[in-house]
Amino acid sequence: MQVFLQTFIGGVSLGAIYALVAMGFSLVFRTMGLVNFSHGNVVMIGAYIASTFYLSAKLPFALAMAVAIVVTGLIGVFIERVLRPLENKDFDLMLIGTIGFGIVLEAVAIIIWGATGTAVPNPVAVAPVQVFGLRVRTYDLVVLAIATAATLLLVFFLQRTKRGAAMQAVAMDQAATAVGIHVGRSNAIAFMLGAALAALAGGLVGPLLYVNPSMGGTLGIKGFAGAILGGFGSIPGAIVGGIAIGVLDAFAAGHFQGYSELVTFVVFTVIIMIRPTGIFGERTVNRA
């Protein structure tokens, strides 16, 4: 029981990070109907920038994270700007374009930081907290707190601000242009916010995993798996799905060691075949 709960909490903490990645996927998808394949690599870039500024420039962890968010946000805007001519024309091509960006980002990371990874020390060097007889790593609690705060901010932005409401409208109806909503700007903001969430996830995941150039692939796919599992495009879905994948991951790692990834992907594929719309139902931008 003790082990079970301990694994569970570790899974939830990692899952919160997957949820942040999943929200980035969902935000871009619900705004413009695109699966952004470079998202995982943006997470990786965010992780590197945060860890570099934290380790080499000796900036406080929070400040290093802020730098990472700004830089990746700009990367997001850049990607959207380059691929803008393809918007509403050919989504398959656009998707492949984001794969192209992912390839470049990974190579750039290898050029800057080298092919081997970096271990990031725990920025919250406090002894584990005892909760109901369970030892919980303080960093896990920090991750959960930051992820929750970011989620609340995002939901506030989408539901309470004019800009966020406009983005919803774009998701609902491509004819939003007709009522004067600047679709290009909404898409750029979606990409920027998605990239910012990616940097947040990357920064937070640094101390938990080993930061290396190929982490983008795995993190991206697990985040995406979370997004689909919850119902692609839905923000609550992304949270629930991301955490579910995190917990699945933690238990798979405990039981199947090296095969954990295999188990996670296979379980995910099976679930998605049984219920393609995910837990919170479908929110696809259907162009029929």
Partner: protein, 611 residues
């Protein structure tokens, strides 16, 4: 006649080009040292993989990021079967290709239910799962991989020699490319291209979209399997990193840069990027930046890739006047040749809707609609924009599953069946804003609908290709007959987008009629037509009805509705408000109120809210 001569010449130059290329490829080893011949052998394997990926992505339009993993499955299967189970190379190879195809079916299974965008990540996830397995599994040798795979044996030649291996590979490559091209130009590939261009319209003309998507995955996995087997035979050592995601993206870049919609383009891309990689062999990371950037630039600026360049170049030369335009004479639309009269194949009601309701997230598009259409009639459906007319067609043709209520065709309950099933039961339709397959010629548009064979019949491709070829010839003859009937012969080889709007409308009707449907649904067929074209449309519709086909027509052109239809059903706000002869309906007070009161205001709204 002139056109045919030109076609003959281009065919002859193509044959000459192929022979020259084949001769070059055959003589190439004489100019290569032992290192370069090895490189060439790897390039050919990439070319085979690229053709397979081109088939699934460029031809069928399904994103597949597991192509390298298919090769990995086959290579590992060969390695395990030869070194651990003691099979001979060729037996192991055959089994390995079968295993890879089984994986193809397995990976393609999500395609039965999922959108193509999701597929990208699902296939990527499964590919990662594969590398994860081989890196960990004891039987696969873990991170070290498996060495000591025996070389394939052939009588008289020693395949441990890379030069001999080159020739074997070259022949295999030629066969796989030829087979790929054969698929593309025969019914299976044509259906795939139609599905890629517009999967909705493909379903509506009877293409079994889900099964076809799975077939595309199966096909690409066979290519992956062949490449994997020869990889194992060539290198005689397999390790996880060979089948990594990085190499998958390299392969993807090859296909995109070469031009995914052309198999030859895919090969060109594979050769070009392999050579680039060879030049930058000491700087693999910079090579990665280079090909990633080229992928981005390609999708934005040259979506058709290298394969599309000749066409673009010709268009450019023509624009600046260095090349004269192709045709001097503008082809003309011919007259429609009426069908022979036949009594309707059904008696009584051919179509019956019972209390059909259709809701979309709170919006009710159809409310308790009950409707009966007698066999052999021409039924008009009128109503203001947004009154649910097109939704009705979408329900009847299977694009929407009604929230409640039943749809009967003859005596059979057809509620909620998939569009292609309904098409096979004799429902045909056209679309309000034209859904022709843009990258298929007019003839091919008709051919897709003409082919009645099921996707399951694709086994013939593996067993008896001349049969497929003959079937294709027969279809072409039928297509030419149909095009002639609709006066479209002059446009047979044109792309639909090049035709005048009214001609495109006629092509769509011809395509809908290709299947000899029992009931034809025309969605605003007169929209955008001039007076002459509307009169021709009336004659065509009448002849179609006389040939025994029931016609239901949504139309805003009241003159056409009044003169064409026996009965008219009037919709307003998702309900039927009147039903009767044109004269009765025109007198109905509700119609006068709803129609005149509403349509005067909604006349300017270009699209229907229900779509």
């Amino acid at each position: 006649m002139k056109l045919r001569v030109a076609g003959g010449r281009s065919l002859r130059s193509r044959v000459a080009g192929t022979v020259a290329l084949a001769a070059c490829a055959w003589l190439l080893p004489y100019r290569l040292d032992t290192y370069m011949i090895h490189v060439a052998n790897v390039v050919i394997l990439f070319a085979i993989l690229a053709v397979g990926l081109g088939l699934v992505m460029g031809i069928a339009g399904q994103i597949n990021l597991a192509q390298i993993a298919f090769a990995g499955v086959a290579a590992y299967a060969t390695a395990i079967l030869t070194t651990r189970a003691g099979f001979g190379f060729w037996t192991a190879a055959l089994l390995a290709i079968l295993i890879a195809s089984a994986m193809g079916l397995l990976v393609g299974m999500p395609a039965l239910r999922m959108q193509s965008h999701y597929l990208g990540i699902v296939t990527l996830g499964l590919a990662l799962a594969f590398t994860n397995w081989v890196t960990n599994a004891h039987v696969a040798g873990g991170a070290e991989g498996i060495s000591g795979i025996p070389a394939p044996e052939l009588p008289f030649v020693d395949l441990r020699n890379d030069y001999f291996f080159y020739y074997v590979e070259l022949i295999v490559f030629a066969v796989t490319l030829a087979f790929g091209l054969f698929v593309v130009h025969t019914p299976l590939g044509r259906k795939m291209r139609a599905m890629r261009d517009d999967s909705l319209a493909a379903g509506a003309v009877g293409v079994e979209v889900p099964q076809l998507r799975m077939t595309a995955f199966l096909l690409s996995s066979v290519y992956g399997g062949v490449a994997g087997v020869f990889y194992a035979g060539l290198i005689r050592y397999v390790a996880p990193e060979t089948f990594s995601i990085a190499n998958m993206f390299l392969l993807l870049a090859m296909v995109i840069i070469g031009g995914r919609q052309s198999l030859v383009g895919c090969v060109v891309g594979a050769v070009a990027l392999s050579l680039l990689r060879e030049v930058l062999v000491d700087y693999p990371t910079y090579a990665q930046v280079a090909y990633g950037s080229i992928v981005v630039l390609t999708v934005v600026f040259v979506p058709t890739g290298l394969a599309g360049l000749p066409k673009r170049g010709r268009a450019l030369l023509r624009r600046i006047g260095w090349l004269r335009s192709e045709r001097g004479v503008v082809p003309r639309l011919g007259a429609f040749r009426p069908y022979a009269e036949e009594p309707p194949r059904n008696r009584g009601n051919i179509l019956r809707l019972a209390d059909v309701t259709m809701r979309f997230r709170g919006l009710t598009a159809l409310q308790d609609v009950s409707l009966e259409v007698a066999a052999g009639e021409i039924r008009g459906i009128v109503g203001p924009n947004g009154s649910g007319k097109t939704t009705l067609f979408n329900v009847v043709s299977g694009l929407y599953r009604p929230t409640s209520g039943r749809v009967l065709l003859g005596e059979r309950d057809m509620t909620g069946l998939r569009p292609h099933v309904l098409a096979r039961h004799g429902v045909a339709r056209t679309f309000q804003n034209l859904r022709l397959f843009p990258l298929l010629s007019v003839r091919e548009n008709v051919l897709v609908a003409l082919d009645q064979t099921s996707v399951l019949g694709a086994w013939r491709y593996a067993v008896w290709q001349p049969g497929v070829w003959r079937h294709n010839r027969a279809l072409r003859a039928q297509a030419d007959e149909l095009l002639d009937r609709f006066g479209l012969t002059a446009f047979a080889d044109s792309a639909p987008g090049e035709l005048p709007y009214g001609t495109q409308r006629r092509v769509e009707i011809a395509r809908a009629m290709a299947r000899r449907p029992r009931i034809l649904l025309l969605d605003e067929p007169a929209a955008g037509l001039n007076g002459d074209e509307v009169r021709e449309l009336r004659d065509i519709t009448r002849s179609i009805r006389s040939s025994g086909v029931t016609v239901v027509i949504i139309e805003h052109n009241m003159g056409l509705v009044m003169s064409l239809c026996e009965r008219v059903t009037v919709f307003a706000s998702g309900r039927i408000i009147a039903d009767g002869t044109p004269a009765e309906v025109a007198r109905s007070p509700q119609v006068v109120e709803a129609y005149l009161g509403d349509s005067a205001m909604s006349e300017d709204v270009p699209t229907e809210a229900s779509r």
